[in-house]
Symmetry: C2
DNA sequence: AGCAGGTGTTTTACTTGTAAAAGATATGCG
DNA sequence: CGCATATCTTTTACAAGTAAAACACCTGCT
């Protein structure tokens, strides 16, 4: 259950949560969607940004407002998402292995699983050992190339992922429900755009 | 340098990177910004989503398209961001500690640092030990309440963070440069909205 | 005063991840 | 054929993180 980190930084991020004013918000849809009421709510990243600006009045903090928020959202969502998995006694990385096997619909080699789940081969080896001890997956060697193994879900593994995955999706839907439908679509599209750039640039060529 | 994870999952995420078509994109601004050329590029999350839809034709994959992308972006950005820090021999969590001290402008107790950086007290204890062994911070006990310690940057620590933080920001700016100015502002605003909801719901009350 | 209970920090025991090396095969080329 | 080199997976040694317990110290109440 451990090592489910929860990073949150951006250029020295973290945050407090005090203060009140308004600062790095934008035009279009922003923090002004609220009917009338109480002053603009502030996320923790905005507070951090303000602190940095007080220290270095001239810096351009735009990157922090995106990257800091991505990291912080990832951390908070992971905490929330972990709940359904915890109940099933699975870690997220383990869940990802089962998910990869389920959604591809066929056997995978450890190397393929590593690529599918963006983890190191060594980490996958460990996870596979545990998952097979729990009877959720099985492995057998390739007959042609005896270096490679093939991994597949057992019936139990398949049942488990099929039971948990919908719970997981529901959980996520609730977590995102603070954003309306349009907001969600816009956010997904923007993140997709960014991701394409990042994967092209930083991600492996991955033919 | 270790334990700088790099999670990427959403409900059994991970991804391949094959396939080509188009699927879960949205209206408004999307993957159609390219002048003419080659078919719509696809991020890895879109491919995963398609795989799931092939397996369970009726599921609503909307949450995956946001959360999966947030996680994947976070993982890729962290890799990239780590570069400048690595050169300085700092891990991200260590950098966050220095950043918190620098941006608040005053001494912090270990507990405050833990809150600022969203980490556990135990983790902070370890980081402080290392940072002080490297001469970047110093600590002294509170005279009133001898349980508490006060931590402050040394001159060396301050010089280090002041040198690295701008590099870090530049790095981040480049990483985000695939998105135009409007896209960045919209993204920051939407993430801020989401974050406010998440922090209100999942984050500690944090008065 | 004296103690029950709370708070700030560190320690302990253990889990998991990583990098690099080791194993075990495959493959290509002279 | 036979070796050098590349590939797939696992092992090894080690670095952090976590939860829970241990410490050390305050505070308030009787």
């Amino acid at each position: 259950m451990t090592a489910a980190n929860g990073r949150a930084s951006t250029t020295g991020s973290g945050s407090a949560g005090r203060t009140a004013a308004d600062a790095g918000t934008t035009r279009g849809r922003a923090a002004d969607g609220a009917p009338a009421g109480r002053g603009p709510v502030d996320d923790t990243v905005a507070a951090v940004v303000r602190q940095w600006q007080a220290v270095h009045p001239h810096i351009d903090t735009a990157p922090m407002e995106i990257i800091g928020r991505i990291n912080r959202c990832a951390a908070l969502l992971q905490q929330a998402e972990d709940a359904p998995l915890r109940r099933a006694g699975l870690t997220r990385p383990e869940f990802d292995v089962l998910g990869a096997l389920r959604r591809t619909g066929h056997e995978l080699t450890p190397g393929e699983i590593a690529r599918e789940t963006f983890s190191s081969g060594a980490a996958v080896t460990k996870r596979l050992k545990q998952l097979s001890e729990r009877g959720l997956i099985e492995r057998h060697g390739d007959t042609r190339d005896r270096r490679v193994a093939h991994v597949h879900l057992t019936d139990a593994g398949r049942d488990l992922i099929d039971r948990i995955q919908p719970e997981q999706l529901s959980y996520e839907r609730i977590a995102l429900s603070g954003l309306d439908g349009d907001g969600q679509q816009d956010l997904a599209a923007l993140l997709g755009e960014l991701l394409i750039q990042l994967e092209g640039r930083l991600g492996a060529p991955r033919g």
